[in-house]
Symmetry: C2
Subunit: 219 residues, 2 copies
């Protein structure tokens, strides 16, 4: 039975273009949400103010080297398993993602929004292009079927939104990216995307491996 | 085909009794390892020195309140989904887990070791008992079929081992608990236990939801 858009359960997807793990989620979330019958609210925000509130002046992956080494390797093997290209040599880390986030807010007023988000993530993490660069972002807009000049103009008009989103994320308890919110529950990390969708759709977590009929099943 | 113990792939399970998420892994890892045909090396270690090396004087869940709030709620819903009792009111957080870890090292010389580890985790997280208390630990030993006095004596003889394990963990790149290591790869968090087992058994990650024959499958 197909439910109308208005009836479908909703999931808020909090994302930040500078986040590696958000890339894994952003490239797959639309297909997975469709599979679960969940409508998505895409919410670009900035991690900078969130990290600053925790006393960090940059990415925790730079502040804590062991965690950083783990993340780059974990990203490489995870991206490969998901069939996503991933380059560990971005032109800057963390990138200044504010320009891309402002354009995304404007793009997400239109049906092309998710395609623009994926184009920016692919430019940043699959192609190692500099998504702080206006020319790169214009290419992403065209790739998504949007007019770069019109998009930039609308982004200018919506400029305060990005700060509002970031403040809303912090008020919702978000402390990293990607995060997901449904039914008063917060989920953190690409590893919890499926749980978040399951919670939105059914009010409970996705079953763990070994939780089916056979407790010793293999996936 | 059943393989002999010597032929089976191995996974190192790094755990710390003070860690909430390690509880979720420790209670399930033996059954899941059996399902995957993987032999386990149980490695108790202390997070204190690991955190100190990152500049933290206590648990990051206390230093970063948003992360702490998330963790307690995430633990409660995850434990419930796994059918594990979990109390959010332990007598101390983080608990002084060194006495329990020293006894675990001695217990793990014997077949009763994993049962002792589970008894301590259950005392700490399901029953909110103080596992820094020698009487509580003696109860855990008896529950696992071990003689508390003999176990304490052996733990005394093996006392330097705990520091050696902790140093080995740091050398292996461990920065949190639970962690898993197999074939030169490190995995972090109860959410990655299945991936770690899959890597040990097959050299690749467990398939993600939506990665099977039908890209829109639901678990």
């Amino acid at each position: 039975m197909t439910r109308s858009l208005a009836e479908r359960p909703r999931l808020t997807f909090w994302f930040e273009f500078a986040s590696t793990y958000a890339y894994l989620a952003a490239m797959r979330v639309e297909g997975r949400a469709r599979a679960w019958g969940v409508a998505l609210d895409w919410r670009p925000f900035l991690l900078g103010p969130v990290f600053a509130a925790q006393g960090w002046e940059t990415s925790p992956f730079l502040i804590y080297p062991a965690k950083g080494r783990f993340m780059w390797r974990d990203m490489a093997r995870r991206a490969e398993a998901l069939g996503l290209a991933f380059r560990v040599d971005p032109p800057a880390f963390p990138v200044n993602s504010a320009p891309a986030a402002r354009l995304a807010i404007a793009a997400l007023e239109r049906p092309e929004g998710p395609a623009f988000v994926r184009a920016v993530y692919a430019a940043q993490w699959a192609q190692a292009r500099d998504v702080a660069d206006a020319g790169v972002l214009a290419d992403c807009a065209r790739e998504a079927g949007l007019d770069p000049a019109a998009l930039a103009e609308r982004a200018g008009a919506l400029r305060p939104r990005l700060r509002e989103h970031t403040e809303a994320a912090m008020a919702a308890g978000v402390f990293g990216a990607p995060s997901f919110a449904a039914g008063g529950e917060l989920f953190w990390g690409a590893d919890q995307m499926e749980d978040a969708l399951s919670w939105a759709a059914t009010g409970r977590l996705a079953p763990a491996a070994g939780q089916g009929d056979d407790p010793e099943d293999r996936p």
